[in-house]
């Protein structure tokens, strides 16, 4: 147990280090002068002295390796540095923006789950036609890009019907279109795996046993099938979180909604290295935490995973399979 937690923590630290390193070097590949960017971009026409002063102040005159080591050293002490463009500590910028993005991601995940489970349950209840319809809907939903979906939703519900604001306003109404934009493609993915496992569960002998006990159709679904159907969805939710954050970059920009995604896009455009790395690190940390959480949730929902060996084999009466333990 302690060993597994240790491996987990080490893995998480590795992911964070890799994210910081890749971002640090990746940003150097963008053409242009970082000092220029700090002074307000190429249009600012800063003097050579001003540029030199900025380079000295930010350590940009030193070699890239020295800068990298110094940057890592500051990260380890928890100092994310100061944003070039906003002239504020990166931690403060992120603190102000993270709430909106987390709310958007959490709501989208919840809505996607609801749609996927609903679709899986409805389509397996109906006949072959319902199954084909659901399967088609899922593939289309999963294939639609966010920017296109957002545009169509705005055209229909804001421009034509005038039901909802085209720009994300504070309050629930402003959240509807961004959430739907993020949730629909995810629901397509989740729906496909959930429907598959619902069908598997419905064909299992334990469902025949339950029916033979006199269980009702809805009892079969609520007490037995739903949980089996949700298992792959839970396992996928860690991945889905990362996917939602990257979707948030597009959605927050289109709906002019404040949040981490839009902050990240602006920071990249302005070559604001500390802010980009800060946002990337926070997102990576969130991804690591979500993975741990979904892992724990999977173990709660499926006790077979928590057993030693984790193959569903019982402990009391081990059977030697041909491959068992010989390697």
């Amino acid at each position: 147990m302690a060993g597994r937690v240790g491996v987990r923590v080490l893995g998480g630290v590795f992911v964070l280090w890799a994210a910081a390193t890749l971002t640090f070097f990746g940003l150097r590949l963008i053409p242009g002068d970082p000092a220029q960017a700090i002074l307000g971009g190429p249009g600012s026409q800063a003097s050579a002295e001003a540029l030199a002063a900025v380079r000295a102040e930010y350590g940009l005159d030193q070699s890239i390796w020295v800068q990298y080591v110094q940057y890592l050293g500051r990260l380890i002490t928890g100092d994310l540095g100061s944003s070039y463009s906003l002239r504020m500590p990166v931690a403060e910028v992120i603190g102000a923006q993270i709430g909106g993005t987390l709310l958007l991601a959490a709501l989208s995940l919840a809505v996607a789950w609801a749609i996927a489970l609903g679709l899986a349950t409805w389509s397996t209840r109906g006949g072959r036609v319902a199954g084909a319809v659901a399967s088609g809907l899922e593939i289309v939903a999963a294939a639609v890009p966010h920017f296109w979906l957002a545009t169509v939703l705005v055209l229909v519900f804001s421009t034509t019907l005038r039901w909802l604001p085209a720009v994300s306003t504070p309050g629930p109404a402003g959240l509807v279109l961004p959430v739907v934009t993020l949730a629909l493609p995810l629901a397509g993915f989740l729906g496909q795996v959930m429907r598959e496992s619902v069908l598997d569960a419905l064909a299992s002998p334990f469902v025949v046993s339950a029916r033979a006990r006199g269980e009702t159709e809805s009892g079969v679904r609520w007490r037995h099938v739903l949980r089996h159907g949700a298992l792959p969805g839970i396992a996928l939710s860690g991945w889905a979180f990362g996917w939602l954050i990257s979707g948030a970059v597009v959605v927050e920009t289109i709906f002019a909604r404040p949040g981490l995604g839009r902050t990240l896009l602006n920071a990249v455009q302005l070559r604001d290295v500390p802010l980009v790395i800060g946002v990337v690190l926070v997102v990576a940390l969130g991804y690591v935490l979500m993975t741990v959480l979904t892992d724990a949730a999977s173990r709660l929902a499926d006790p077979r995973l928590a057993q030693p060996g984790a193959t569903g084999r019982r402990v009391a009466d081990p059977v030697l399979t041909p491959s068992g333990g010989s390697r």
């Binding site: 299992s204 002998p205 334990f206 025949v208 046993s209 339950a210 029916r211 033979a212 006990r213 006199g214 269980e215 009702t216 159709e217 009892g219 007490r223 037995h224 949980r227 089996h228 929902a301 499926d302 006790p303 077979r304 057993q307 569903g312 084999r313 019982r314 402990v315 009391a316 009466d317 081990p318 059977v319 030697l320 399979t321 041909p322 068992g324 333990g325 010989s326």
Partner: protein, 557 residues
Amino acid sequence: MNDAPLVRVENLRVGFGAPGGPAVVDGVSFELHAGRTVALVGESGSGKSVTARSLVGLVGAGSWVAAGALDVGGASVLGPADRGGRTRGPSAAAWRRIRGRQIGLVLQDALVSLDPLRPIEREIGDALRLNTPLSAAARRTRVLELLEAVGMPEPAERMRQRSGELSGGLRQRALIASAIAADPPVLIADEPTTALDSTVQARILELLESITARGTALLFISHDLAVVSRLADEVLVMRGGRVVESGPTEAVLGDPQHEYTRALVRAVPTGVARGIRLSAPRPAAAMPPPASASNQDSRETAPESAHDDPSRQRVVLDVRGVSKRFARRMAVDDVSLQVPRGGTLGVVGQSGSGKTTLARIILGLTPPDAGSVLLEGGAWVPAPERVRRPRRPRLGAVYQDALSSFDPRLTVGQILADAAGDRSRVTELLDDVGLAGQVADARPLDLSGGQRQRVSIARALAPRPGLIICDEPVSALDVTIQAQVLDLFDELQERHGLSYLFISHDLGVIQHMSDTIAVMHDGRVVEQGSAAEVFSNPQSPYTQSLLAAAPRLGRSA
């Protein structure tokens, strides 16, 4: 005794697809009475399970049911008939009042027949919640009582466990508890002991007997005639959806009238002397036209290859003090065995006794911790694979699951040509195992279970081995197919002078096939001797308990 039947089935017909299409159950009639057991016997696909499930309306989607009468508890469950005489059955609510309350159903493997995500307490409690007015607390007490009644040790602790955490026997008990929870007067048990070891099977059969002794009517479904002869008062022998013979158990199994019943009874290997055929002499379907030219070739080469063998030892395989430990338990513990040339050593034991690990050690796939194996007088294990490889052709292997041992993309011809290293011998090999030449173009998935096992035997024969390790080679087969494959093993032994190490959990198969027998338990050989000695006069207490637990078919003459 009350004479009114609890269930009355008359001329039952069940089919899938369009009504009026072919029926998978055709003209089945029987009655279930309190305290009596009726058995449906037959091979897979004979319509036993479909017949049973039609009593609880769980035949499956797209099925239709028609009958002269189908009464449960004195009331018809046919519902109003349409013009074609077919019915849609009663409403879903009416079926639910029958399921669990009037008829309980026990399925084959409780690992998958109980929801693996739910504790058995909730699975059993569901039957009470649905069919009795008991409160949650009262249900809990009743679940405990039920688990005690089915002989579950430490019920208070076990009820919180899930089916995957219980052993095969215990989870089958839990499944039976859930079926009898609401005290239905009729119980259907569909192959309830098929996945179990013989001693565990014996205990589950005792439990079922005690349930019928309390006045429950039992509809028992099995392919195992020995189990049926112990449990059933009346037998219906089914084949292709029809009942070919029925009547009191002793009459049907003791003095079978129908040809198919005779074939079934004859196919049971228990107590049949070594060398006597179990299947009909030459079933036209399974055997090819006799003795083609290539067949004679193989007959000529057989003695020649034996002549080539430098050692000409009396003992083909000599296992000396072999041990293997996995984690904390000894899988194989100081095992010594010998296989005589041209003879068969049977290794019998229950799951987990170390049989398969022993086979893997002999095949050189698992290195032992201690001990050695000599093949035809030469060092075999331990030895570097480089030294072993040139002699690998002398050792063949046949496994239980033939299908998963083939590459599904290859045709049978490619599989055999690959094993023989020579395309020209494919027909000869197929002929040797009684398969027609055109099987070469088929893929393993297209073959029946018996045909697949014949192909895997042909593959083992391809490099002209002296010894074949057979690990449960007939365990997945129906009894008449099993009989044909066992007969094939005998024929091949005679034709090619083969030696076998024959591993099985089935005492009857081992007794019929072996010259000498080794009984394994917890990794050790607890008894060894000639087949006749071990079976007539077992010395070890474990062998005695194994023999006592094995159900036997009462044979007349």
